[in-house]
Symmetry: D2
Subunit: 359 residues, 4 copies
Amino acid sequence: MNTLGHLLTLTTFGESHGPAIGGVLDGFPAGITVDADYVRECMQRRRPGQSTVTTGRQEQDEVEFLSGLLDGVSTGAPIAFIIKNTDQHSSDYDELKDLFRPSHADYAWLQRYGIRDWRGGGRSSARVTAPICVAGALATMALRKLQPGIKISAFTSQIGPYSTDPTKDMEYSDIPVETNPVRCPDQELASKMEEYIKELRKEQDSTGGCVTCIVRGLPAGIGNPVFDKLEASLAGAMLGINAAKGFEYGDGFSAASQRGSEHNDAFRMENGRVTTTSNHSGGIQGGISNGQPVRFRVAFKPTPTIGREQQTVTLKGENTTIAAKGRHDPCVVPRAVPVVEALTSLVILDQWLCGARQE
Amino acid sequence: MNTLGHLLTLTTFGESHGPAIGGVLDGFPAGITVDADYVRECMQRRRPGQSTVTTGRQEQDEVEFLSGLLDGVSTGAPIAFIIKNTDQHSSDYDELKDLFRPSHADYAWLQRYGIRDWRGGGRSSARVTAPICVAGALATMALRKLQPGIKISAFTSQIGPYSTDPTKDMEYSDIPVETNPVRCPDQELASKMEEYIKELRKEQDSTGGCVTCIVRGLPAGIGNPVFDKLEASLAGAMLGINAAKGFEYGDGFSAASQRGSEHNDAFRMENGRVTTTSNHSGGIQGGISNGQPVRFRVAFKPTPTIGREQQTVTLKGENTTIAAKGRHDPCVVPRAVPVVEALTSLVILDQWLCGARQE
Amino acid sequence: MNTLGHLLTLTTFGESHGPAIGGVLDGFPAGITVDADYVRECMQRRRPGQSTVTTGRQEQDEVEFLSGLLDGVSTGAPIAFIIKNTDQHSSDYDELKDLFRPSHADYAWLQRYGIRDWRGGGRSSARVTAPICVAGALATMALRKLQPGIKISAFTSQIGPYSTDPTKDMEYSDIPVETNPVRCPDQELASKMEEYIKELRKEQDSTGGCVTCIVRGLPAGIGNPVFDKLEASLAGAMLGINAAKGFEYGDGFSAASQRGSEHNDAFRMENGRVTTTSNHSGGIQGGISNGQPVRFRVAFKPTPTIGREQQTVTLKGENTTIAAKGRHDPCVVPRAVPVVEALTSLVILDQWLCGARQE
Amino acid sequence: MNTLGHLLTLTTFGESHGPAIGGVLDGFPAGITVDADYVRECMQRRRPGQSTVTTGRQEQDEVEFLSGLLDGVSTGAPIAFIIKNTDQHSSDYDELKDLFRPSHADYAWLQRYGIRDWRGGGRSSARVTAPICVAGALATMALRKLQPGIKISAFTSQIGPYSTDPTKDMEYSDIPVETNPVRCPDQELASKMEEYIKELRKEQDSTGGCVTCIVRGLPAGIGNPVFDKLEASLAGAMLGINAAKGFEYGDGFSAASQRGSEHNDAFRMENGRVTTTSNHSGGIQGGISNGQPVRFRVAFKPTPTIGREQQTVTLKGENTTIAAKGRHDPCVVPRAVPVVEALTSLVILDQWLCGARQE
């Protein structure tokens, strides 16, 4: 239940306010040199407290590798790592002990397990995505070696009312997104998004948004035809991110209003290789990559924690109200960008390893 | 790779033009009486050749159970079943042997396996959803016994330009959809959808659409908090249906433009029980059901097989054109409705069994 | 629960007296030509009714392949197959309906599932090993192509008081065992074993025995170091055979009384390659093959069904007696020989595919 | 590959000489109070350096829990824990860097992964059993609550030439074994075993042995009928212990020479409950527990590391000799006793949880 993948498995653990969070990445190819700076960089991107648009919580987020590496090279043994929780303000959550925060996991968790770690969302905190970023960085390093030329780029494609133009997805994916705090490749739109988030912060409110991800350089033939389709694995992984509400690939939901003559991607020969004249399919046909760029989008709901007063109930079953005081993002989307990339790396490497067995 | 589920697993097999298709349902609770008529009914709903809006292929789709039942009652042993392929026109596909149909799995499959069953899509045919309907019918019978009051209802919510009103989803889910061939609960809209599909058939074109599904009566506490979230399991299963392009639950993609104050579902006490004043969450919070109706939507692309001439390439790498002659649906959506219900039953029963272990 | 393997999975189904038994082999490499005669031959070896030492039940055991093959070549799709049950004498079992046969699964099954298929052992019948032989034959054909030179040979090494000399295991494995009905490579011993079984049949009794298996030509590097060790996979598979009571590899239980200086296999260079001067390890060190022949042994208990009167209890909880009348083997060991080989092929191919991913 | 179990999964990690070893126990029931002293006690039993018969390596083996507990009670979240490696003498292993130790995993590992952590066996060190003991202690605590009356007791039943009487297994299992360093319930035999080990230490040699395990109070109905039989799960787990060479349950290998009339366990009513008049089956019939005590035995080879000079080869492929200097046990068996118990607890709880779903 806390494990993702088939041959490459990531098991994560840890709660928001426990001693540490971490993960175990098993089935990782041996002989991959781990660039600790790159891992740190991937972690930093997800880390809160980076800018005015994110939460003020300051986590050092230092990764300690406990196993699976010898002089920085993977040995084939499981790679375990931990990130200590250092900046915990558990007392921020004291008043949450006896009530359920609206649209949080609090109530559902209690019904599932009969006991709840009420401190900062416990296991349901967005903090659990940090180990995903570490593992994703490792997967990316392996993919770079095993499948040179592969490139996974995600970016913010929507924040509230501001959306990028989906026909420009391929262009966008070439633009570095670290130049602005919302990670949107359209700088003008990025300014509006940033402004919007700041405004919502003042209003003690929050907003949703979308992340788009492009995988270039994935060869044709990765995936499976029925229950473990590439798109199904990606969807399952993405819906595992906190606050994710939807997944679509290629033309996605807009394909519902298209005609076949409009949606179909014609095959053509180009420089002696099979290609398609369009990519409505999003690089996947029948569950298997077709050699075109993989393109998908993930929708996120607004952060449920807001400063405004909301109705809720107590553990004892009495109606009450709540107004959040902790440090929270008015929008999780910019920080979800590296998480989407990390999960994509993990899914692709796993499917790659599963498929590579026959060569 | 052809297996779905954890404690309850469905393994399917079979190609469009082989001797038979079928499945093995393992982990099914013992002591469930199987109503053969209900299974047949579920199969019939998915079966092609039912009306003017679907393909003319006539499959009898008779299910033979091979194991796991004693006098019609499940014994705990795996339930295997087959459906013989009887109305195969393999010759219809002869000319497809040497080329790739646009937006079909043909090319990707060949890259994956180096060999391809070119007859009617082989393993990638929509016919593989028939065993899912059988297994789903069984799962529904088990759920009715184990969790009385549970009800899973799917319906067509979009065909091309015609969409139902999402705010009426709960009302719709109470209306029988077998009264019209498109399975849309809004009769007026249904007529327009039917007309639209007929029109496209004449134009040798096809259309996409959406299916919405509602699960009532699911108790709070079903699901998991991180990688095996209820929504992730549903998304993974749904994206396994042929032609599926997207999945969203609750407010889904529209949550991306909402504010937290608008999206959050306030908890309230009602008749001594915890409930929510709205259901933007779609019945799932933090990966676990919260006792409200589960609501999600699946997008399907237009049928890729169309009568119009399209560009493509041959196995030898030459440009050519193709115009389909086989019997095909201009729209898969009405037939996807029972498949969505079946997969939902399977996912819910599996998660129910996994969660029930602690009681 | 009815599935074996990781990347290569075999799911079996079927009861002794239902319509059919069968299996689904998934993850099987594409492009393997299936020799139907070889499959039939493997089936025949396991089939009852072959000689005076086995049960009189006459099953035709014709395999029907339902999927995964195109003109006799595997396509990468799951290979499903069934074997119809034709020679069922369910009435033989009528009197067993209301009581538990000693040392059979009857009582334990009923406690597990609350319902029991009493006809011939149902799912717990030795007949469930037939699909294993089919799948094993397929795995052997794949191994021959992927790893030329590999050879898996099992033989009867003990029947009651008659045992082969373990120091001659390698010699034995080169001798064809189909020349005598007990499948023992030592012809003189074989005659004694055959005589012993005939004697027990007369005495309405039964006997246990052992099967030894040798895998030659397996390269070093197959297996895993901790929980999925090659020996653990083999042990788990072998203990799944009906009546199996024990598993040992290399020197096995006799290693318990050895000294390290006696047991250790010294490494030596031979013709420029690493080899060992002995093989007490049985070809596996630390869970991974070391390039030497893999050698293991499986113990089987005496067939529990005997003609002699035994004490037992009824479903209603009354003491009673039972004396079997059905057709049963006084010794399952000769028929277990092909089953051991089949499972070995399946385990080795699965581990081979899992390990091959990194090359 | 480093994960054991189905609903209850233990993933372990860590090498002998890395920063830490540990594990993640997922699927553990919520609401179990963890007795830290009991965990420590289980760890201590496995710990080296306890007596004259074990290695001199002094590990503090302090367990740190990182997640899954709130005020000492399990929350349903994965329980991660680490044990820091403190007493590492990596330099002891310097000379092993360039050669393969006979009958160790060194050579096989290198062939599998192309890279090897040569320090103290790396991932193949017996030290990896420490996390198993922690997880087993947790599983035992859960079993005590979920299935009161269950009791798992293992003991040393053989060291070299000294064996206990198998007909006294049930008596032995009631005798505390911590009273002597070899953990043998027969005190007289224990003294001889201890003497024998000391003698071997002087001779720079080592010995094998056996551990017997008894599970009382397991209800009938736990396990599965075909591939995931209770005995197969136990065998797979036990063969995962370092140096394990064989597994047998009930009468095991001696059943091979028995007759059915001798081996069969007759059912009888006793005080209104079904029981058996003997227990040759070892408490399992057809893969499922039958309510009688589960009884099995595991064989271990002599410790491969010995002080005597042995032949071996170098990484470069040259013949050479080796004589171990590190700190090593002349016999792993006494320390394997708690590991066998721990794995038994894990397997039983997992199967219990899987089976409990239907009630």
